[in-house]
Symmetry: C2
Subunit: 223 residues, 2 copies
Amino acid sequence: MAEVKLFRTWSSPFALRIVWALKLKDVPYDTIFEDLTNKSSSLLQYNPVHKKIPVLVHNGKSVAESLVILEYIEETWKQYPLLPQDPHDRATARFWAKFSDEKVLASMLEAFTSEGKEQEEAIVKAKQNLKYLEEELKGNRFFGGDRIGYADVALGWLAHYEGVFEEVCSIKLIEEDEFPLLSEWIRTFADAPIIKENWPPKDKLVTKFQGYREANVLKKIGT
Amino acid sequence: MAEVKLFRTWSSPFALRIVWALKLKDVPYDTIFEDLTNKSSSLLQYNPVHKKIPVLVHNGKSVAESLVILEYIEETWKQYPLLPQDPHDRATARFWAKFSDEKVLASMLEAFTSEGKEQEEAIVKAKQNLKYLEEELKGNRFFGGDRIGYADVALGWLAHYEGVFEEVCSIKLIEEDEFPLLSEWIRTFADAPIIKENWPPKDKLVTKFQGYREANVLKKIGT
């Protein structure tokens, strides 16, 4: 049995954070791919509260919640530090990681699962959130400075899933002229070693999220 | 000018986390009480993204988001460590802090701002979440072990605001026979030095949250 195991799905953006962190730090691990419609007894045992992936198991002990797992990885394997040294810079990285999930992802998901006027409003909100990221990138190649760090790993899903959003909804959220720095970050991050080798296939994601959008839109209009 | 400033309101449970952490570590600071219906230009300058309290300003640099501020305090002032040493124990503390906001608080707020069948369902959900906390306390006086730690500080609001919930809604969520360990934790935590000296007056909270519940219930039923 390997010392480190990662429970994930092929499509989860949260699981990708853990894949990238482990690979950036060169930590060997085994992968268990879960089918969330038929969860394994191991997943239920290792994450009894949320019953979700990703879950990291290290020496038989489990850690859940992707941002909590990132902190665990950072504290356990010191090579390639994801967080900077200075406490204020560390707080800034954690701030944007939280912003990723609570604001950027939430507003994009709202736009993704709605239509018409509701979708228009959600897009305005999503773009407001993306504007803050654009601001934050001023003078920096990555959110973490000149190399990929904690905030980049947390926000990294954006670099691939924004394109999936575009294909499924026929709406481009991040236009080059409106978000030049974020567009550049997306290209640089998405194409970086380790990052680019681990993206799930885009066409497969598009197919999956077409189904997800359809189910949610239908549910909302009550048919 | 003091080195450390805390922007807060008198009633915010998130701000209390920062008050407790600074006082447990014996860090002197100045308090700026904000009126959220008329935010100061300093607050808008120090937290331009969320425009919310709490905000900690240390040597002129601001940190926002209460759990991010807690990590900053922990890394900046080493006395009275809130997080344990072991990475897995640290992950556990962070897990329950996140659970506090995303599950316990969210489900209690849902129950707090609803009526009838919707409220009944929200109460079932809130109690399921509280059951996990009851489980976690088995064999421990505090979530952090035998002294107040990071998870206690994060979950601490529960020890006071659950009573406010009870008074406003006439519903007791945490009954002694159903939640003996959590009830005991509430008593011990609420009465601990530093914690008990910093609770906002309960009658004033009840008055405020009566207004909050009324506004939200009325909005939901569209009157």
